[in-house]
């Protein structure tokens, strides 16, 4: 439908005002919320993601598009609860206890949000209990753990151990990232996924929720 293309295109241009206007129009035209979300906003962000990956656009353009996406989302949100429309997934993220690095984690959060995920950011220096409790309370699909220090990366395992004893391990997936960690380390501690940057985190979690 034409309106979806228009939403997607405005979103790619980072025109948040136009995205809001078009989203409102689509709602007025009684198009289903799920469809506006999937075929308009998320479809547009998918193109943005591909363009970024191939260096056709740079990070600021991605974030402008993400902002435009939120402009549309803000209008959809109240209706989503009513119509029981789900976002593509809910992720709790934070930096491990003892570690103050949060730039990478913040970027991952912004990009996940931009891709349509609901993100609960717990900040930095986060104890294991807080990750697990929030994931339980908010019914999250995944926990995203960040560590930039060799001294704190081991704290990721503490979160996983606690998830096991609280019986949410396996149900809630774990994705990890940060300079000292790797795919092998993820396997070693029993994390489900590893991602090396924000875009990769988006791709990885999108692939997971799609297969689910």
């Amino acid at each position: 439908m034409e309106i979806f293309n228009q939403i997607a295109e405005s979103l790619q241009k980072g025109d948040h005002e136009k995205v809001a206007i078009l989203t409102r129009k689509a709602l007025d035209d009684k198009i289903a919320v799920q469809q506006i979300l999937d075929d308009g906003l998320i479809a547009g962000m998918n193109v943005v993601g591909e363009d970024f990956k191939h260096h056709r656009i740079f990070l600021p353009s991605v974030l402008l598009a993400a902002r435009a996406m939120y402009a549309g989302m803000d209008l959809l949100k109240p209706l989503m609860i009513k119509e029981d429309v789900r976002t593509i997934g809910k992720v709790v993220i934070g930096t491990i206890k003892g570690d103050l690095h949060d730039i990478g984690k913040n970027l991952v959060g912004i990009m996940l949000k931009g891709a349509g995920f609901e993100v609960i950011d717990l900040g930095n220096d986060v104890p294991p209990e807080k990750f697990v409790q929030t994931a339980k309370d908010d019914n999250a699909d995944a926990i995203g753990l960040s560590a930039l220090l060799t001294t704190t990366m081991t704290g990721m395992k503490d979160v996983i151990d606690l998830m096991k004893s609280e019986d949410i391990y396996g149900k809630v997936k774990v994705i990890i990232g940060g300079a000292p960690v790797s795919r092998e380390f993820a396997e070693q501690i029993g994390a489900d996924f590893y991602a090396f940057d924000g875009m990769n985190a988006v791709e990885t979690l999108k692939a997971y929720v799609k297969d689910r």
Binding site: H55, L59, P60, L100, I103, T150, T151, T154, D197
Partner: protein
């Protein structure tokens, strides 16, 4: 004449400073450390404990600037003067706290071991153009909680050079100080002859965490020199413009200076940093980017203008291997840094966004450091005028190879690189095995390691260092430290 380079004219520099002071006095600094906030309040800062904010006064900044010494020296573990951080003196130190080492055989990264660290520290004893060692990477074969102090322990055990280091937690400071006291014998000796510099990082924008601000305070108390490592990322955590990022870096660094000087007036500090641009294609913080290097040189000018000794993370590369990119980024950085007169240049050996050390790169970079130090000696006439007599000598003898003038000045005029730098003609190069750069650097390293000599610490000091470290390890559930080869 010594060649120099400048990026800021005086008007711009003064404006950057006044803008930075404006930020400190109008917006203030977020400091997650109550005692530090209260101390600042005692000196007239307006503080708010609910959001951890301290708004400075110009008086605080001026006081800090007046109190901070304009130079200091580092002494090796035997107490000999080793690094002179004054005026435009240029010294190099390896990049520090890497997460990985680059394996020589496989060209792959791996987590470092105690054996790697010992090799590194032994190698450092012989890299003459790198004045101090750093705790260059984090051995992964000990409990993570002691890995920051353990590397200092190994450094002190195997190499005499002073150490650029840092703690990862508030708790680790204690053991890292005690190791130094074991070497020096008393607090008074340690104050008189600093052995280490601690890196302490503010968080951009204009914020101090409890850990890093406490490290600043603890260092000041014991007279352990600190380098402030503010890391504004241009275009992300600071303005995209280099000048805007410099303003922010200045504010962040001056806030650290105030914490040090108000804690212990006159304590030694380096006006340092590690600002970088943010690469909006790859989501990375390129240390080898030319703009990053320009930022380093420019804030050095600000530090010098404030009459403070300086430090920077420059002369390192983001390459993954010891390749041409590694050489060019390191070479350009080290050259600019030396021309700028940065007092302590942290970089040699480092790859991959400060995350990977290569011992072969360290050997190569030692040569780069040697070359840049030659560069800034510049040129000046040495019995060159009048030239007539020497010309006549040349015409008469047909060469000047054994001329008195040559014998007298050869070594100071020409820097003699090691065999890692290839200057053989092709046939000789092939006869000598046609080795690659990496192979030559490795060979040089192996030669040094074979000739290694211990630093000469007394038996008692060695025993005490081991006792302290073993006790610390036990605290964190490690009954035994990894074996150390002799």
């Amino acid at each position: 004449m010594r060649p120099t380079i400048e990026f800021l004219d005086e008007r711009t520099l003064e404006r950057i400073l006044s803008e930075a002071i404006d930020i400190l006095c109008k917006i203030g600094v977020e400091i997650h450390n109550k005692p530090v906030l209260e101390m600042l309040a005692d000196h007239g800062a307006d503080i708010r404990l609910d959001n951890y904010r301290a708004t400075f006064t110009e008086d605080i900044i001026n006081k800090a600037l007046t109190l901070a010494p304009s130079s200091f020296k580092l002494y090796d573990s035997l107490g000999n003067e080793a690094v002179d951080l004054s005026e435009e003196n240029v010294n190099f130190t390896p990049g520090s706290a890497a997460i990985n080492v680059l394996d020589y055989e496989s060209d792959k990264i791996r987590k470092p071991t105690t054996a790697d660290y010992i090799r590194y520290a032994k190698l450092m004893t012989r890299l003459d153009h790198i004045a101090s060692q750093s705790t260059a990477f984090i051995p992964a074969d000990v409990e993570a909680k002691i890995s920051d102090s353990y590397r200092l322990f190994l450094s002190l055990l195997y190499c005499r050079k002073p150490v650029v280091t840092g703690a990862f937690t508030i708790e680790a400071f204690e053991i890292m100080k005690n190791l130094q006291l074991a070497v020096r014998g008393s607090e008074k000796e340690l104050k008189a002859k600093p052995l280490t510099i601690f890196s302490c990082c503010p968080t951009s924008p204009v914020k101090w965490s409890d850990v890093t601000s406490q490290n600043v305070v603890d260092c000041a108390r014991y007279g352990i020199p600190v380098e402030y490592i503010a890391m504004p990322l241009a275009g992300f955590m600071s303005p995209v413009t280099l000048i805007g990022t410099l303003v922010q870096h200045t504010a962040e660094t001056l806030s650290g200076l105030a914490i040090s000087q108000l804690t212990n007036p006159g304590t030694s500090v380096l006006y340092g940093g590690s600002p970088a641009i943010f690469d909006v294609r790859y989501e990375t913080t390129p240390m080898g980017a030319i703009e990053t290097q320009m930022l380093d040189c420019a804030y050095n000018e600000i530090g010098k203008y404030l009459d403070l000794p300086t430090q920077a993370y420059i002369g390192l590369s983001d390459a993954k291997l010891l390749d041409a990119q590694a050489g060019l980024e390191t070479g350009i950085g080290a050259t600019l840094a030396a021309l700028s007169g940065i007092n302590n240049i942290s970089g040699p050996g480092m790859l991959d966004f400060e995350s990977c050390i290569s011992l072969e790169k360290l050997v190569l970079d030692n040569q780069i450091c040697g070359m840049t130090k030659r560069l800034i000696k510049g040129m000046e006439p040495k019995e060159d005028f009048p030239m007539i007599e020497r010309m006549e000598e040349l015409l008469h003898e047909q060469h000047l190879l054994i001329s008195d003038h040559t014998m007298k000045y050869l070594n100071e005029e020409h820097f003699m690189p090691s065999q890692t730098i290839d200057r053989a003609n092709r046939a000789r190069y092939e006869e000598e095995g046609g080795l690659t750069l990496k192979q030559r650097a490795h060979k040089e390293a192996e030669e040094y390691l074979a000739e290694y000599e211990k630093p000469g610490l007394s038996e008692d000091v060695v025993k005490e260092l081991i006792r302290l470290m073993e006790e610390e390890a036990k605290k964190y559930g490690m009954d035994k430290l990894p074996d150390r080869e002799e």
